[in-house]
Structures are given as structure tokens and as C-alpha cells.
């Protein structure tokens, strides 16, 4: 009895994969990467979510009720948004006498008040002196990455479980502080050390008497914490006689709602009592939403990587099947139907997709660990916690990986099933039949033209699609152009490579000629390999041009807009949203200072909403570029006159002579007449302005938001004097015009670096594609390379030929991508023209750097195939089958 194979094709598929494991890796490498990014981003955000869950349950651990003061209606909105703006405003406090009253209520087991505010540890480190300097030290603001810096009161209640001393003792007087363990470890502080803390506006020195841990996570959310004795905290954190909230623990047998009612009654409408555990869930949700946004961004980049991956898979499949033409046609000759071949190929792709996705998930876990460790290294404060891989994430990753792989194999599988049974008998010609690319060119050109019409239509006002906004239409048009170009690329491969022909032949001789000819031989393959690279480079050069333009814009804006010699602003808006007014007083006294304007702000009520009301000195109009729209600044300086920003005026239809009624805390309702509408090109501190000296209620503010001033002569002596004054105000930052430009540029550059980091994943995937294409192309040309070796071509020369070929692919991809990216950037800036973006700058050096990087990367991608080609056994290559 001979064996009978029930599913012969399945067996063939399985044997194929078992025999060529490398094929699986090559084909699925891009899927592996894409899935890995999806998984890593999910793990990353899920882990952070669970860490934040832990954090908030830690904050409210053992607490039943939390009492908050009821804020004035308009201020509440600000409190909810974190309350960090360029203005300082007074949040209502609970008088600390209430703690005692609550404590005495029936059912209340314990109650203690919390004081919370911004406090900043400062490290002053000596540094080398410049010749002109008297004071040679640098002030370092200690923080854990982007996490905030807090100050609070040490809880003495026996029921308070949040902070636990790891070492030392609690603070008992106004000279002592307890530091959180994370900050202590990161900065090498221990009990007994002295440390400077900036809380409010003046720094002071404290002795560290204890190191404490928060709910077993070191410090909440990576924030730095300075915990003071209660009275000291109240004084430092602007809470004299009051607390920010009261935590309550109830008796075991007490009903939570009853106690809640009692407390609310006590507050006479001024106290809001919330259920602590509900609040924990709510606050954690708020943060999770923020993390979701981050997750979305990561997923977008994973999507790009997968999109590039789909190109590569399709390509690889096509080549692999081409290699097996003989085998497949033999199967056809033996009586296998087209349909069966189709299913054979598909079952192989299913196998591959499953394996690839599995590896991808594994790699994703590794990637998440690496990212977490990496962020830790950069002290990017996120709460500690175990890595969490949810089942949904794993399933999503697997489904995406599997479906992308299978979808990309559909077309190649279809093509493979069309193979003629005669191929097996016929002398094999590995070069595929050349189908005309004309149809493709026509179709692609039509699509591209459509895209250009949409894009230029909106930019030059001849076509406006009603359902899309201008920007959307530009984006949509760009997408259509991109697809169109992708369709065209195989048709333009030849003409493009033609440009190289002569140059390459001159530089590299016959090897250059062979390489260019090979790229032209399979235009589709060259094109789709290049397309994969094109996607990454389009996005990179888009980001590059946009940011370069923004930088140039920032430079011209700063130069044009800030006419003052110097600007002073708050160094750390978290700690102190402004600059102590003492500084502007000192600067005004200085004889070198010729003209100075302070900006101040306060929160007022306007139509039942909070509003930031700004105040400036008259000199502002000379120090900052403002544009008069209507009215005049002469009217503006009159009493009860108000200035308004152009944008606000347009939005709310405010005109000269309109009356604006505001509710001003401690002053009551006041009415102002709009006297001046103007445009202010820097980010304005407020929308409504008054003249500072006209109103006393601004003097109550202890902070300026900004100071602009001119000096008699900008020289070293002046600079020294200014530095000396500023050294007393560590929370203030002095910058001249160059400093402002530099700062703006640094921020843009940081953003660009992050984008580059993510986009390089897609370029990386594209490189796999180049390696794939080249190694398969080397395989295809086994005999050719063998022949070349037989007639005396050195191994070195064979390698060089492969490198040259790779450089053609990468130059093609980089060139297309860069051109498209620059063009899209131009369109985007053009579309944003009305919003004030006018500068379009292409950094030639950066553009060429990226093209250079692509070529080098392409050559690196060719290393393996090149080595493989050069080591080919000549006899095997030339021997006749």
C-alpha cells in the first residue's frame, strides 16, 4: 500500500517553508517590524495607564472623602485645566480652622489638610568663569524629565498613608525639608545635606531631614517633591491660613453619604465633598486620555511602517514565486488547477504571516522594554510599573500583521497561478515577460493630475471642493498625488536610470553599465523597492522643510517683532508663572535701562467665563511690533479705555467704542470702552489689555509675566550689571534677541528629532526591502555572476556591481521622496499662508544629508547580497542543469 497524501498542496507549502526558513524571515521582516511597533506602543501606553491607575489609587489610599473649596465659577475652568498659564491667579483655599471642625463631626475618624503648590529644587554648581564675570556658577533646575515639580506639607495625621519615610525624620521647623526618594537618588542627595528650594518667588535653603517614598512608587508621576512642615508649607506655597484640600477617613460604621452631607452643611456652600475612590478613577482617566493621544501617534508611525512593509512583501513574494516558476508549472503540468496553485501560494503566505506576526509580537515586547529603559536613562519621568501586554493588543497586532501579509500576497499569488504548464518543459528564461508599462503610465498620470488639480485648485483658487476645508483639500490632493506617483514609478524607472547611464559608465566602467542595465531590466521591482524608501523620505523631507521654514520664520519674526534689546520671562512656568515685580522695579532704577515695559495679567470674569486680562506699559508699543488696526494708542492710555487683539475683535465682532463689562475680583464689576484694536505678532499674553499704571488692582499681583526693555548701549558692562541683578531672581530668565531665536529653534529642533526618530523606522523597513530585492536579484542572476567570475571578474568587482545597483535604487527612492516631500511642504506652507506662514526655506545641506544617508544606508543594505554574490561557486553557477 503506497502512501496517500490527503492534502498534497498543503504538504508542499509546508515543506517549502521548512526548507527555506530564511525566506520567511526575508519576506516577513517588514511585517515583523510593523507589528513590533504596534505591540510596543500598546505595551507602552497600557503599562503607563496601569501605572497611573496605581498612582491615583495610591494618592487616595485609605481616604474616603476629599473636601475641596468651591472655586469662583470662572476660575474653576482654569483649575480643571491644571491652572498653569502665563498668569498667576488666586485659587480659593479652605481656612485651616475647618479641619478641626470636620474632625469633630460624628462619623469622622480622621481629617488632615493638604497644601500643594509648585516648588523647585535648585542646584547651584560652580563653573569656569568668563573673564568678565564676577559670579561664576550655573543654576540648575532639578526635575525628572518633563514631570512637574511640587511642594507640599508633610502629613502628620496617623491616617495619612501617602508618604512614607524611607530614611530620617519628618520636618518640624521652617529650616527642614523632606525630599522624595526618586529625586534624592537621581541627584545624589542624602539626609543631612543642604538644598535650595525655590517656592513662590524667592529661593531659600533647607536641611534635608528625611527621604520619603510615595505609595511605593518613589514619587508620583516622576514629579519632584519638597515636603515642608505644615506652617512653612502654608507660607511658602501661598496658602497662609488655609489648605488646598482636606482628606477624610470615616469610621467603619459611618455612612459615607451622611458624613458627606454633614461636611457640606459645614461649608455653607463653600465646600465641595467628593468620594475619593471615584475621584481616583476620574483623574486616572484624564491622564489616560492624554496617553491615548501618544499611543495614536505611535500607531500612525506603525501604520507607515506597515504600509511600507506591504510594498516590500508584495515585491518579495513576486520574486520568490518567479524563482519557483518551474516548480509551479511542473505542478500545473501534473494536473494541478490554477485555483489549487492560488491556494498553495496563499497557504504559504498564511503560514508566513502567522510566524512573522508571532516574531513581531515577541520583538515588540523587547522594543517596549528597550524604550522604557531608554526613557529611564533620559530621566523622562513616567511612573514605574510592570509591563502590561493586553490580549487585545496582541490580537490586534497579530490580525494586522496577518492581514497585511495575506493582502499583499494576493496579487503575486494570482500571478503565480497564471503560470503556463509549458514553462517546466521550456528552457527557462528567468527574465519575466515585459508587460507594457504604457497603461500604467497613463493611469498613474491621470491620478497624479487629479491630485495636482485638487492641490493647486485650492492654492490658486480655481477649484474648491465644498466638503473639504482648504487644508484638508491640500492634504487629500497630496495623498492622491502620492498614489499617482507610486503607480507611475515603474514607467519612469527607465528614463530615470537613463540619466545615470553615462555618468555611471564613466565613473564605474563596465560595472556601472551592468548595474544600470540590471535596474532597468526589472523596472517594476526597482520601482517598488524604491517606492518603499520614497515613503520614508517624503515624510522626512516634509518634516525637514516644514521645520526649517518654521525656524527661518521664527528668526525673522523675532527679529522683526521684538524690537527690545532684552526680554525677561519666567524660567519655569510650573514653579512660578511669572517674575517677581521686584525685578522690574530694580531694572527701572538702573540708569542703563532706557525704556521698559512690564506685562501683567490677572483673571477676571467676562460673560460668566474666566478671562485673562492683560496690562502693559505704554512703552510696549516701542519695544514690540504692534500694528494698529483701528483706534489709537493715544486713546488706549486713557482711563477706562481698553485695547483688544485683532483676532479676538474679529472673532467676537468687537469694535471701537464697544463697552466691555468685566467682573474683577475684589473690585467688582467695571466697564471699559474699546479704544484700540491692534495686532501683536508675538504670542500675546492676553486678548484684552489695559494700561498698567491706570489700575491699582494689578499692583496686587506679585508677578510680571514678561518684561521688555532697551538699554543705552548693549555691551559687556551692561550685561554684567544685568546678570548681577538677575542672579537674585533665579526664576527669571534674561534673553536678548539671539537668545530668543536660539530658544525657538531649539524647541523646533527637538520636535524634529522626535519625528526623525519615528520616521527612521519606515526607512529601516525600506532597507530590508532593498536587501531582499538585491539578494533575490543576485539569486536570479546566479549564472550571470558565475559567468562573469569565470571570465575573470574579481570578487571585489562583483561586490562593487551590487553596491552600484543598490545606490541606483536608493538614489531613485530618495530623489522621488525628497522632491515630493519638498513639494508637499511648499503646498502646506502655501495653504497656511493666511495663518501667517510665509517662509518657505529648503535646507540644501539637510536635504543632501538625507539623500546621502539613504545612499549609504542602501549600500549597507547591499552588503549581505554583495557578499553572497561574490562568494558564489562558479562551477555551480555555470554548470548546465
Amino acid at each position: 500500500m503506497y502512501g496517500f497524501t490527503k492534502r498534497p498542496l498543503f504538504l508542499i507549502a509546508w515543506k517549502n517553508l521548512k526548507t527555506y526558513p530564511v525566506r520567511i524571515l526575508l519576506t516577513t521582516s517588514s511585517i515583523i517590524l510593523g507589528v513590533a511597533v504596534i505591540i510596543a506602543s500598546s505595551i507602552f501606553s497600557e503599562s503607563n495607564k496601569s501605572a497611573f491607575d496605581n498612582l491615583f489609587s495610591g494618592i487616595y489610599e485609605g481616604i474616603d472623602l476629599v473636601v475641596n473649596p468651591v472655586q469662583e465659577e470662572f476660575a474653576g475652568d482654569f483649575a480643571g485645566s491644571g491652572g498653569q498659564g502665563p498668569v498667576s491667579f488666586d485659587l480659593k483655599k479652605i481656612p485651616d480652622s475647618k479641619i478641626k471642625e470636620i474632625q469633630e463631626l460624628p462619623g469622622v475618624k480622621g481629617a488632615w489638610g493638604e497644601v500643594l503648590g509648585f516648588a523647585q529644587y535648585i542646584k547651584v554648581v560652580p563653573r569656569e568663569c568668563h573673564t568678565y564675570e564676577r559670579q561664576c556658577s550655573e543654576t540648575i533646575f532639578i526635575s525628572n524629565g518633563f514631570a512637574p515639580t511640587f511642594g507640599g506639607a508633610w502629613d502628620t495625621s496617623p491616617y495619612a498613608k501617602q508618604w512614607e519615610l524611607v530614611e530620617g525624620k519628618p520636618p518640624v521647623n521652617n529650616k527642614e525639608v523632606v525630599m522624595d526618594v526618586t529625586t534624592a537618588e537621581n541627584n545624589g542627595y542624602s539626609v543631612g545635606d543642604r538644598v535650595t528650594v525655590l517656592a513662590g518667588s524667592t529661593p531659600a535653603s533647607f536641611t534635608i531631614v528625611g527621604i520619603a517614598e510615595f505609595a511605593n512608587v518613589g514619587s508620583p508621576g516622576g514629579a519632584t517633591f519638597a515636603l515642608f512642615e505644615f506652617k512653612t508649607a502654608q507660607r511658602l506655597l501661598d496658602s497662609e491660613g488655609g489648605v488646598d484640600l482636606i482628606n477624610i477617613v470615616i469610621e467603619n460604621n459611618a455612612d459615607i453619604e451622611t458624613v458627606r452631607g454633614l461636611i457640606e452643611g459645614l461649608g455653607e456652600g463653600n465646600l465641595e465633598v467628593i468620594n475619593a475612590q471615584e475621584a481616583a478613577a476620574e483623574q486616572a482617566d484624564g491622564i489616560k486620555q492624554g496617553l491615548n493621544f501618544f499611543n495614536t501617534i505611535l500607531n500612525v508611525f506603525a501604520g507607515i511602517a506597515l504600509f511600507v512593509g506591504a510594498f516590500i512583501i508584495q515585491n518579495t513574494f513576486r520574486i520568490l514565486l518567479l524563482q519557483r516558476t518551474k516548480e509551479l508549472s511542473l505542478l500545473r503540468a501534473l494536473g494541478t488547477s490554477k485555483n489549487q496553485i492560488y491556494r498553495l501560494v496563499l497557504s504559504e503566505s498564511i503560514f508566513m504571516s502567522v510566524i512573522g506576526s508571532g516574531i513581531g509580537i515577541g520583538l515588540g515586547i523587547g522594543l517596549a522594554v528597550a524604550v522604557k529603559e531608554g526613557l529611564k536613562y533620559f530621566e523622562f519621568g513616567l511612573p514605574d510599573g510592570p509591563l502590561v501586554l493586553t490580549t487585545e493588543a496582541a490580537i490586534t497586532g497579530a490580525i494586522v500583521g496577518i492581514s497585511v501579509t495575506i493582502l499583499s500576497s494576493l496579487l503575486p499569488a494570482r500571478k503565480a497561478s497564471q503560470v503556463s504548464p509549458m514553462e517546466a518543459i521550456r528552457e527557462s528564461t528567468l527574465t519575466p515577460k515585459r508587460k507594457s508599462l504604457i497603461k500604467r503610465l497613463i493611469f498613474g498620470s491621470a491620478v497624479t493630475t487629479l491630485g495636482f488639480t485638487m492641490l493647486f485648485g485650492v492654492l490658486y483658487d480655481f477649484l474648491d471642493l465644498p466638503s473639504l476645508s482648504g487644508l484638508q483639500q491640500v492634504g487629500f490632493g497630496a495623498g492622491v498625488i502620492f498614489i499617482g506617483i507610486s503607480i507611475i514609478t515603474p514607467s519612469i524607472t527607465k528614463p530615470f536610470v537613463f540619466l545615470f547611464d553615462k555618468i555611471y559608465e564613466i565613473i564605474f566602467g563596465i560595472l556601472g553599465k551592468l548595474a544600470t542595465e540590471n535596474s532597468k531590466r526589472t523596472p517594476r521591482r526597482t520601482a517598488s523597492t524604491a517606492s518603499a524608501l520614497m515613503i520614508g523620505l517624503t515624510l522626512i523631507s516634509l518634516a525637514n522643510v516644514i521645520t526649517t521654514s518654521f525656524k527661518a520664520q521664527a528668526e525673522s519674526v523675532v527679529g522683526e517683532v521684538v524690537k527690545a534689546d532684552y526680554q525677561v520671562s519666567a524660567a519655569q512656568v510650573f514653579v512660578s508663572p511669572g517674575i517677581p515685580t521686584g525685578l522690574s522695579d530694580e531694572l527701572i532704577e538702573l540708569e542703563e535701562v532706557t525704556k521698559l515695559s512690564r506685562s501683567r495679567a490677572t483673571i477676571v470674569g467676562y460673560e460668566d467665563r474666566p478671562l485673562i486680562l492683560g496690562a502693559v506699559d505704554e512703552a510696549i508699543f516701542d519695544l514690540i511690533k504692534t500694528e494698529s488696526i483701528s483706534g489709537s494708542k493715544e486713546d488706549f492710555v486713557k482711563l477706562n479705555s481698553m485695547g483688544v487683539l485683532k483676532q479676538k475683535a474679529e472673532r467676537d465682532n468687537i469694535d471701537i467704542g464697544d463697552e466691555i463689562t468685566l467682573t474683577i475680583p475684589e473690585e467688582g464689576v467695571m466697564t471699559f470702552t474699546i479704544a484700540y484694536i491692534f495686532d501683536w505678532t508675538t504670542p500675546p499674553p492676553a486678548e484684552f489689555f489695559l494700561l498698567l499704571e491706570n489700575y491699582t488692582f494689578f499692583s496686587n499681583e506679585s508677578l510680571d509675566t514678561e518684561i521688555y526693555f532697551n538699554v543705552k548701549e548693549k555691551n559687556q558692562a551692561t550685561q554684567d550689571k544685568l546678570d548681577a541683578i538677575l542672579s537674585d531672581y533665579p526664576g527669571a530668565k534674561l534673553r536678548d534677541q539671539d537668545g530668543l531665536v536660539e530658544e525657538a529653534n531649539n524647541q523646533i529642533q527637538q520636535l524634529l528629532n522626535v519625528i526623525y526618530g519615528f520616521l527612521s523606522i519606515s526607512v529601516f523597513v525600506a532597507l530590508f526591502g532593498i536587501t531582499n530585492t538585491l539578494s533575490l536579484s543576485v539569486y536570479e542572476r546566479t549564472r550571470e555572476i558565475g559567468l562573469m567570475r569565470a571570465i575573470g571578474t574579481y570578487r571585489k568587482q562583483v561586490r562593487r556591481m551590487i553596491f552600484i545597483e543598490s545606490s541606483i535604487i536608493s538614489i531613485f527612492g530618495a530623489f522621488l521622496g525628497t522632491s515630493l516631500g519638498i513639494f508637499f511642504a511648499w503646498s502646506l506652507i502655501k495653504a497656511l499662508e493666511e495663518d501667517g506662514f510665509s517662509n518657505f526655506t529648503v535646507s540644501i545641506s539637510q536635504t543632501f544629508t538625507w539623500i546621502g544617508i539613504s545612499i549609504i544606508a542602501g549600500v549597507i543594505a547591499a552588503v549581505l547580497p554583495a557578499i553572497k554574490a561574490s562568494r558564489q561557486n562558479i562551477l555551480e553557477a555555470i554548470s548546465y542543469e
Binding site: L787, M788, I791
Partner: protein
């Protein structure tokens, strides 16, 4: 006629231990300059292996091959490659030409990879001899099989090699093209003073050679000078019959 190639106890064994197959067993012979030699033998006699070893494409197991007194085994891959490029020419049964290059580019390929300008007069002479002057700008797939092999022969000679190795050059050709090619090959030995070592199993092809070496089971069974086709056929028959 001077000695060009000399083999001393040339032995080639494939595989190891139990699976070892001796393809060539202690071959001692010489190949002279300006001579057209054919190596014949039934399938598995080792004729192709001998050619591959002589051409430095395959390594010998023991014994040595001296090319003008230089032992091939003493050369590294780079030196061997240079030797093949500058001193040897090759014509294979199939796949002789790079499909992306024109006939002319294929002919000058060895000099191109050497970075040398081909000798114009010599190349022109070969092209005329091979009668492919009107096909130079064509790609291989635009040429007939006979034309392709003539281009291959022209390529083999273009760099004025010491010796041309041909492995069943007429194997894939119809009888007319086959005869044409062999006539050309014979003429380049007699008129252009070239040396050819050709492997074939076809007595008709071998009859164009001045000397025919018969191989059987890895050993030289016979060495004939200027044999006729009938002599070769009877020798081949006697070898296969035993």
C-alpha cells in the same frame, strides 16, 4: 610546438569516505600551444571535470596542473581570477553572454573588467572571422543560437588568451550552426594561432580537432592524433561497449 599545460598525477575526488567518487585518476598529459584538442568520453568519464580543473574553476584533490610552469594550486582566488581573465578564454554550452549587454559589449567584457582597452585590430579581425560584424549592437536575445555561440567564441579570444576552454560549445546548436561554429574554431587555431581545449561527446565535433583524448572512468583511455570521424566513432563505441 611548445608545452602550454602539463598535468602531473592529476586526481579529483568528490565526496568523502564511503560516498567518495574518483572523477579523475592520476592524469598525466600535456597540451601544446597552437593546437586544437578535444576531450571525449561517455557521461561520467570525467571530461568536464578535467576541463574545469585545467581552467582553474575547480580545485584538484592531488597532483598538479602547470600552466607555463606555474602550479595552479599555488594561486589564490585573486591570482586565479586574473589568470582566467588574462590568459584563458571560455565558451560554454549555454549561457555564455550577459543578457543586458550588447554583442560588442559582451565581446570586450573581459578587457572591460580588467580596465583595459581592447586591441582594436585584433578584435576587428576576430569579429570578421566570426562573421558577426552586423550583429554587434544586438542583445543576446536578438541573436540566433549559432550567433550567440560565435559571439561567445569571439569574447573568448578578444583578450588574446593563451588558451581557450570550450565546454560542449556546439551542444545546443542545430547541425548547420554547429558546423559553422566548429569551422570558425578550427580556423582560429590555424589562422590566428590560438590554442583550444574542447570537451565534447559528439564525434562529429571532435573530428575538427587535431588531437582527441578519450577518457573513461577518470583515466585516459586513448590519445589520437588527427583522427577521422569514423575512427572516433569506433573508439567511442568500443569504450561504451565494454
Amino acid at each position: 610546438m611548445s608545452k602550454l599545460i602539463e598535468t602531473i598525477d592529476l586526481t579529483k575526488v568528490y565526496g568523502e569516505k564511503e560516498t567518495a567518487v574518483t572523477a579523475l585518476n592520476s592524469i598525466n598529459t600535456t597540451f601544446n600551444q597552437n593546437q586544437f584538442t578535444a576531450i571525449m568520453g561517455p557521461s561520467g568519464s570525467g571530461k568536464s571535470t578535467l576541463l574545469h580543473c585545467l581552467a582553474g574553476l575547480d580545485k584538484v584533490s592531488s597532483g598538479s596542473i602547470l600552466i607555463k610552469g606555474v602550479d595552479l594550486a599555488s594561486l589564490n582566488d585573486k591570482q586565479l581570477t586574473k589568470m582566467r581573465r588574462d590568459s584563458f578564454g571560455f565558451i560554454f554550452q549555454a549561457f555564455n553572454l550577459i543578457p543586458t549587454l550588447t554583442a560588442e559589449e559582451n565581446i570586450t567584457l573581459p578587457s572591460s573588467v580588467a580596465g583595459k582597452k581592447p586591441e582594436q585590430d585584433w578584435v576587428e579581425k576576430i569579429i570578421n572571422t566570426m562573421d558577426i560584424g552586423d550583429r554587434l549592437t544586438h542583445r543576446p536575445n536578438e541573436l540566433s543560437g549559432g550567433q550567440q555561440q560565435r559571439v561567445a567564441a569571439a569574447r573568448a579570444m578578444a583578450s588574446k588568451p593563451e588558451v581557450i576552454f570550450a565546454d560542449e560549445p556546439s551542444g545546443n546548436l542545430d547541425s548547420k550552426s554547429s558546423k559553422e561554429l566548429l569551422v570558425f574554431m578550427k580556423s582560429i587555431v590555424s589562422e590566428l594561432n590560438q590554442t583550444i581545449v574542447m570537451v565534447t561527446h559528439d564525434p562529429y565535433a571532435a573530428s575538427f580537432a587535431e588531437r582527441v583524448i578519450m577518457l573513461k572512468d577518470g583515466e585516459i583511455a586513448n590519445d589520437l592524433d588527427n583522427p577521422t570521424q569514423e575512427e572516433i566513432v569506433s573508439q567511442v563505441t568500443s569504450l561504451t561497449d565494454i
